[in-house]
């Protein structure tokens, strides 16, 4: 099996702080991959560098064998991106946003309109299609962002925390769409720190900690018989809990009610 994404020694530093300290990420084509790690592990920075939104200080990244920084035309035609933060073109309506995005990629207007209509209905956004994105809720933003990322039928899809702040119904819609995409042979890579979700969805896991990949492989291998949550805690290493004694007041009730 070939790799959809492969990086070598990807490195990024912000001032003094090293955010990503040489990441060698490998994700086989067609897999549903989870990039997990605690807050500040460098997941977002890594994904930004692979998708060409942030210039790395060192190392290289390849998508379907094309170098991200030397062959941007090939790479950008193949990838779909949903970054964190969710800033979209807020003053367009959902439908206008999809139309803009599709036509910017040179897809004929009639095709974009048809695809946008179908995506909006799958995402359950038809009612809100003509409202401005600035008025959308978090869940709706994630869905319209995903729709925009899917519009050109990418072969590799990058999603940064796609399920954060999303209600269970919308989350279910998102996972349905993503499952269908991977079933067709495309690759999905998403970052998360919700282990249950990663365990349920993914067949490939990369664990990041402090700017490095500490484990990577098929879900079963990384898990090694434990729950993914336990495996994650073992890998990342929990800091010793020496402050517990200080919380003795927590839960204590005063004798006299005020």
């Amino acid at each position: 099996m070939t790799d959809a994404v492969r990086t070598h020694g990807l490195f990024k530093r912000f001032g003094e702080q090293v955010a990503v300290a040489g990441v060698d990420l490998a994700v086989p084509a067609g897999s549903f991959a989870g990039l997990v790690g605690p807050n500040g592990a460098g997941k977002t920075t890594t994904l930004s560098m692979i998708t060409g939104l942030l210039r790395p200080d060192g190392g290289s990244a390849e998508i379907d064998g094309f170098d991200v920084w030397r062959d941007p035309v090939q790479v950008k035609a193949r990838i779909g991106v949903l970054p964190e933060g969710l800033r979209l073109f807020e003053r367009l309506s959902g439908r206008e946003l999809l139309l803009y995005n599709g036509r910017l990629r040179g897809i004929p207007k009639a095709d974009v309109e048809r695809r946008a209509g179908e995506l909006l209905s799958v995402m359950d956004l038809t009612d809100a299609a003509d409202k401005l994105v600035v008025d959308y809720s978090t869940g709706m933003r994630k869905k319209i962002g995903l729709a925009a990322a899917l519009l050109h039928n990418p072969s590799v899809l990058f999603l940064d925390e796609p399920f954060e702040g999303v209600d269970p119904v919308s989350a279910d819609t998102l996972t349905e769409v993503l499952r269908r995409l991977t079933a067709s042979g495309a690759t999905v890579i998403f970052s998360s720190h919700v282990m249950d979700l990663v365990e349920r969805l993914c067949d490939w896991v990369s664990v990041m900690s402090a700017g490095r990949i500490v484990a990577q492989g098929p879900l079963a291998d990384v898990r090694g018989g434990r729950s993914l949550n336990q495996a994650f805690l073992d890998l990342v290493g929990r800091s010793p809990q020496d402050g517990q004694a200080d919380l003795s007041w927590l839960g204590a009730r005063p004798e006299a009610g005020r």
Binding site: G52, R55, F89, E96, Y100, N101, L104, P108, L132
Partner: protein, 538 residues
């Protein structure tokens, strides 16, 4: 019971056991700590804070000095000026927080909503926090200057102190009342959009006296007295009069002021109580019309049409665009009227049209800035220089679709206004040329000196914190380059060779195309840096 520290206030309500003074002390301390927090963090913030401090103190000293100089002026002048000064202080207190939210970053009541505070304590605390700070201090000092300006005897001084304190309290309470009442509306997007655009109105109104003076409609002294007469019975007028009077009438006026302050305070507490339990205005989000635009009929299907469609929608829907266009046109209008005078010079129509074009083009000096953090949506698509050229061309086209007719109106209007009908055509052609030059230069500065344009209530806020210098440098560089590049057709026209204007639009097109080419080349190499520059937190 010990006083709980402000940051960790467990259990009982802060100040519950130690009365009014405890609450006042607590909130004053909290506000001072917040102000002190400005001294930590990065150097830029420190410099900005110290600068604000110095400016406020200098203004306070200067204001006090000028007010005390008034005691040398004739009584009626001194009185009128003090009334005007007090009235403008009150109005500034009511308007400024709306225009520059965060200039005086006082406590947000919503942040205190979860603490077990009674409304009375909350109001008292918020009032304390409001009067603690450098700007309130400056206001108080300047207001005290009124005593030295007006008081003519011991009675004046005696009444002056409460009058000044009440005028100051009124400033603060009225300011809080306005922001609290409006805060519900301001939290919805529509309210913010509306406010941002209505800022133009404020600027416009502020220009009226200026314009009147320029036109020589009346002499300043008479006007001053007229306005003072109007303001005599407003609260600031009564405060000033109480100081000047120093007798029983003054006492009555102080009583009225006190009632007013209490009334405003009561209304404020009521409004606060309501604001804290009323959920955010659920912006009734209207749908937009789906349209089969003109653009699609005129342009071939593709990225260019997509960009033009999007840009035209943004110009219509984004308050920042509306404010920019509004102020560009307004400035041109003001200059046109104030220069109109009695004997217009020869080149005036041409000059005005050129100026209008320059103003419009200057807006395009940071085209990626308004996209801001949404720019990634373009960045993940653009793989080649060609894509960026199409993007810039779309933006130029959208701008020109509005600017070309607008400039035509300016050229015709100013030529007719100055009675120079023969200049219509040269003015028109020259302004289109200027627009082209400006757009070309603007696309280059957009990629060389990009900065974040904050999307917040005050649409006049130029740049994200720390990028103000860059924004200023960008605008100056753009203006200089635009004027320099326009010189080949502007200079001959100034010398009377008007036929040169026939070539101006073509020259403009050429410069615009060259600018796009250069800008696309730079942007293609620097996309991640460009993205970072326009995505600064605001």
């Amino acid at each position: 019971m010990t006083t709980p520290s402000p940051t960790t206030a467990p259990g009982p309500a802060p100040g519950a056991g130690n009365g009014v003074l405890g609450t006042v002390g607590l909130f004053a301390e909290l506000k001072l700590r917040l102000l002190g927090g400005n001294l930590r963090g990065d150097a830029q913030r420190k410099v900005a804070f110290v600068l604000t401090l110095v400016v406020a103190l200098v203004l306070a000293a200067l204001g006090f000095f000028l007010m005390s100089l008034l005691s040398l002026a004739p009584d009626d002048i001194a009185f009128s000026v003090t009334v005007m000064a007090y009235a403008s202080l009150l109005v500034s207190w009511m308007v400024m927080p709306l225009l520059a939210f965060g200039l005086d970053d006082t406590l947000d009541p919503a942040k205190l909503a979860l603490f077990p505070l009674r409304t009375r304590d909350l109001a008292l605390g918020l009032f304390t926090a409001s009067v603690t700070g450098v700007w309130p201090l400056a206001t108080l000092v300047v207001t005290f200057g009124g005593i030295t300006a007006l008081a003519s005897g011991p009675g004046g001084v005696l009444l002056g102190v409460p009058a000044v304190l009440l005028q100051f309290a009124l400033c603060v309470v009225a300011s809080r009342l306005v922001t609290t009442v409006l805060s519900g509306a301001l939290r919805s997007r529509r309210g913010r959009d509306l406010l941002a655009v209505s800022v133009i109105l404020v600027v416009l109104v502020a220009q009226v006296p200026n314009l009147m003076m320029n036109r020589g409609l009346s002499d300043p002294t008479a006007m001053l007295h007229q306005m003072a007469v109007v303001l005599r019975w407003t609260p600031p007028g009564m405060a000033a009069h109480a100081i000047a009077d120093g007798g029983l009438a003054g006492l009555a006026e102080i009583a009225v002021l006190a009632v007013l302050v209490v009334l405003c305070g009561w209304l404020w507490i009521k409004a606060l109580g309501r604001a804290l339990v009323t959920p955010e205005a659920s912006g009734k989000s209207a749908s937009v019309r789906r349209e089969r635009g003109l653009v699609d009929r005129l342009l071939p299907d593709g990225p260019l049409a997509a960009v033009v469609t999007k840009e035209l929608k943004y110009i219509r829907r984004d308050p920042r665009f509306r404010v920019n266009w509004g102020s560009a046109l307004f400035l041109t209008l003001v200059l046109g009227i104030s220069m109109g005078g009695d004997q217009p010079s020869d080149g005036q129509a041409v000059f005005l049209a050129l100026l209008g074009a320059l103003m419009i083009a200057l807006m395009a000096g940071n085209v990626f800035g308004i996209d801001g953090r949404s720019l990634w949506m373009n960045a993940v698509v653009f793989g080649a220089e060609r894509d960026l050229r199409a993007d810039l061309a779309g933006r130029h086209l959208a701008n020109a679709m509005i600017a070309v007719p607008v400039l035509a109106v300016i050229a015709v209007g100013s030529a007719l206004y100055t009675d120079q009908a023969a200049r219509i055509l040269p003015a028109l052609l020259a302004s289109w040329g200027m627009l082209g030059v400006g757009l070309g230069v603007g696309s280059v500065t957009s990629v060389l000196l990009p900065y974040t344009v904050p999307d917040r209530m005050n649409a006049f806020t130029g740049a994200a914190p720390g990028q103000g210098g860059q924004a200023f440098a960008g605008a100056v560089a753009a203006a200089v380059a635009m004027i320099a590049l326009a010189a080949p057709f502007v200079v001959p026209m100034l010398l009377g060779v008007l036929w040169v204007s026939a070539a101006a639009p073509f020259y403009g097109l050429l410069i615009a195309a060259l600018g796009r080419r250069l800008a696309a080349r730079v942007a293609h190499r620097r996309m991640p840096e460009l993205l970072e520059a326009v995505s600064k937190p605001t």
